[in-house]
């Protein structure tokens, strides 16, 4: 993984010291809350419903075991013993005291982490495929370009006061695990006919109040041109993006209002107007320097089928179930990618206790070269596990209450914090997720249902990504009571689609029954287990569900 050099270290340390001084001035009254607000937001510190919330960047979801242990320490020392992993591969602490935040930032800087640009109208943490660099289906490793973008976008002088927040996602694999089509900029790596790597550049996707699938503005951008081309996009957005209405300020609205062709022409004209030779040469050198940090670890030469592992699979049904549901093919023979579900039945999606963080850090040291990934589905990943070690890993996970074999199943729910924490929320999300998870607690039932993703947002801002769920739930408030709408048929992958509204909303005590009714329709009417929920939905349409779920009184 990437390691800071002296410059990176100084940059982050100086930034932490600067914020310490700003907090001191806030605490002694020199700065008013109004003056302090933009400064704290530039360092990831929000004021929520009950307390401050600190959002810490986990660049493109890559964590070292020492970093995860430090997050556990922070949770114990300055928070309430747990943290919450987010859909943008970050972690949030919900209860820090303002006076402690400078010490937290110092503790982060000590392990090469920060909270820069995790909030505010700037370029946020760049996200990517949680299997980057090890996925069997990968064309090109996106991590060096993610790190290049992280550095380039950090305290960018021109793009720190954009019309609205800005999110970039990169994938290096044809199967899109990074949801690049629903980001402000999505970058899909592929190769041209000459075999050279480049990016399909997709602009103007997003969720929120006005969900949109992004449009392609360049089919193939040579990798060397990434920084100047993204700069051109950002400049067009910074100049022409709407600033009169914060709900119409994302780049998707600009692309939608002027049309993708006109937008693309503005970007190309901006790009042609500049002289990028020197910048490109510098960025290419930087990528080369960065890429060395992502050289493969010292893999062993292992057989594809480990006899001990095969025997365990045969002997232990629970282990076999976990392996089937939680591991993914690795690019190196004899290795697996192991997913760790942060969705125990009835638990809070994405939450991990400090003890669990330490357990994962230890397991990563023992079985995965000390590296952990955070997935946007709010789960963790150990990217480099020898198949030989999978049983020991599973036992360790079960011991830490992290062995739920529900990855990708109906109880692997994405949920925003909702009204339990968030000042924007109009409904609770977490209790709904917990109740659905308990309703489908039976693992045999979950397996039978198969690939069905539920996402829950507690307000129209859609932080729970309900638009791109197979079954999305949006919590609203109607005349003082919570009302939950269901959307069906959404998808965030390479065939991105937005869910369709099923019909009128359900009360808090009806929503779980409604979800079950949808699932029962699918189970009863599908052609067989091989017809996935999404395929079934695309075949029968929303009307079929509508008739079955809303029974005439």
């Amino acid at each position: 993984m990437y390691r800071y050099d002296e410059f990176d270290a100084r940059f982050v340390a100086d930034r932490a010291a600067q914020f310490r001084d700003q907090v001191r001035r806030r605490l002694d009254g020199t700065l008013s809350e109004e003056e302090f607000r933009p400064l704290r937001l530039m360092n990831g510190l929000y004021l929520q419903l009950h307390a401050y919330m600190l959002r810490i960047a986990i660049p493109y979801g890559v964590l070292g075991s020492q970093q995860l242990r430090q997050l556990a320490m922070i949770a114990d020392r300055w928070d309430r013993g747990y943290g919450h992993f987010t859909t943008r591969q970050n972690i949030q602490f919900n209860w820090p005291k303002l006076a402690d935040v400078p010490d937290i930032l110092d503790a982060l800087a000590a392990v090469e982490m920060h909270a820069i640009q995790t909030s505010g109208n700037c370029i946020r943490n760049v996200t990517t495929d949680q299997f980057a660099g090890v996925a069997a289906d990968e064309v090109e490793d996106p991590r060096p370009y993610c790190e290049l973008l992280r550095q380039w976008s950090s305290l960018h002088p021109e793009f720190s006061f954009l019309p609205r927040k800005f999110k970039i996602a990169v994938t290096g694999a044809p199967f899109d695990r990074a949801a690049v089509k629903v980001h402000d900029i999505g970058l899909r790596m592929h190769r041209n006919e000459a075999g050279e790597p480049g990016f399909e550049v997709i602009v103007g996707g997003g969720l929120g109040r006005t969900p949109m699938v992004g449009k392609t503005v360049r089919d193939f951008l040579p990798v060397a041109e990434l920084v100047p081309y993204v700069t051109a996009i950002m400049r067009v957005y910074n100049r022409f993006g709407r600033r009169d209405n914060k709900y119409k300020a994302r780049i998707k609205i600009l692309v939608h209002e002027i049309g993708v062709d006109a937008f693309s022409e503005l970007v190309e004209a901006e790009y042609r107007a500049g002289d990028h030779a020197a910048g490109i040469e510098l960025a290419v050198g930087e990528v080369e320097r960065i890429a060395a940090y992502f050289a493969p670890p010292a893999y062993e030469d292992l057989p594809e089928r480990d006899p001990g592992h095969m025997a365990r699979l045969f002997e232990n049904r629970d282990f076999a179930r976990w392996v089937r549901q939680s591991t993914a093919p690795h690019t190196v023979r004899g290795y697996s990618i192991a997913n760790i579900s942060l969705k125990p039945i009835g638990g809070i999606p994405g939450d991990a206790s400090s003890a669990q963080m330490r357990a994962v850090a230890d397991l990563a040291d023992r079985h995965s070269f000390g590296e952990i990934r955070v997935a946007h589905e709010q789960n963790l990943v150990l990217p480099n596990v020898p198949k030989r070690d999978l049983f020991a890993l599973w036992e360790g996970l079960v011991e830490a209450d992290l062995g739920t074999p529900n990855l990708g199943l109906v109880s692997d729910i994405i949920a925003c914090p909702g009204m339990d924490y968030c000042s924007l929320a109009t409904a609770r999300s977490i209790p709904v997720a917990q109740a659905i998870s308990r309703r489908f607690a039976d693992l045999a039932l979950q397996s039978d249902v198969g690939d069905l993703r539920i996402n829950i947002s507690g307000c129209i801002n859609a932080c729970g990504h309900h638009h791109v769920a197979h079954l999305g739930i949006l919590g609203l408030e109607k005349r003082g009571v919570e009302s939950y709408q269901i959307t069906l048929g959404g998808s965030g992958d390479e065939n991105a689609a937005l869910g369709q509204l099923l019909g009128p909303g359900f009360a808090a005590d009806e929503i779980v029954d409604a979800v079950e009714a949808v699932v029962r329709v699918y189970l009863a009417d599908r052609r067989g287990p091989e017809e996935r929920f999404l395929d079934f939905f695309r075949r029968v349409g929303i009307k079929h569900f509508k008739e079955a779920v809303y029974v005439p009184v």
């Binding site: 100084r10 002088p157 021109e158 006061f161 400049r235 910074n238 510098l282």
Partner: protein
């Protein structure tokens, strides 16, 4: 108003002339884009004294192209600190047009944006009175490094990418600063 320029507080020789004011006969003056584009546009240059123009954040910087080589100053307005359009306008003036005159930040100009403004090409700052004037001298040194590359920027802030390439910033210098 106080004017901060080249790291010092300085007196302002320029006068902003609103559209409804008559033009003073002599002295450096700043006019609006509307006046420059209006009937007396060419006349403005005839007195031989330095001319500047003030561009509001929604006005396209491209509109200045016919006059740029004769303008001594461009003032870019910040209606609110969150409105970042002028950052791009300044960058375009320096990078694309090679504008060498003064680029002045006017309006809601905050010390917390000083380093960003310098790095995109601003070199003068009109600051409202009572805005912690002393901190303008020191705030720049808070984070004296930046990643982005820009061969037109001339600021005390060093580009990390360039320093890595050239090795121009040595470890000794880093330690000395700590």
């Amino acid at each position: 108003m106080s004017l901060f320029k080249h790291g010092e507080w300085t007196t302002d020789d320029w006068r902003f002339v609103a559209d409804d004011e008559p033009l003073p006969a002599v002295g450096p003056k700043i006019v609006t884009l509307a006046r420059l584009q209006g009937d007396d546009g060419e006349y403005l240059f005839h007195c031989g004294c330095p001319l500047g123009v003030r561009l509001e954040s929604g006005e396209p910087v491209e509109a200045l192209e016919p006059w740029l080589n004769r303008l001594s100053l461009v003032a870019l307005g910040f209606p609110a600190f969150v409105d970042g359009r002028a950052f791009s306008a300044a960058a375009i003036l320096r990078q694309r047009h090679g504008f060498a005159g003064e680029i002045r930040a006017v309006g809601n100009v905050l010390v917390d944006q000083h380093a960003f403004m310098l790095r995109v090409g601003f070199d003068a700052f009109e600051v409202a009175e009572g805005r912690a004037l002393e901190s303008w001298r020191t705030a720049l040194l808070d984070v004296p490094f930046a990643y982005q590359y820009d061969d037109t920027a001339s600021t005390p802030v060093q580009s990390i990418w360039q320093a890595r390439r050239s090795g121009s910033l040595q470890a000794g210098e880093l330690q000395a600063a700590e």
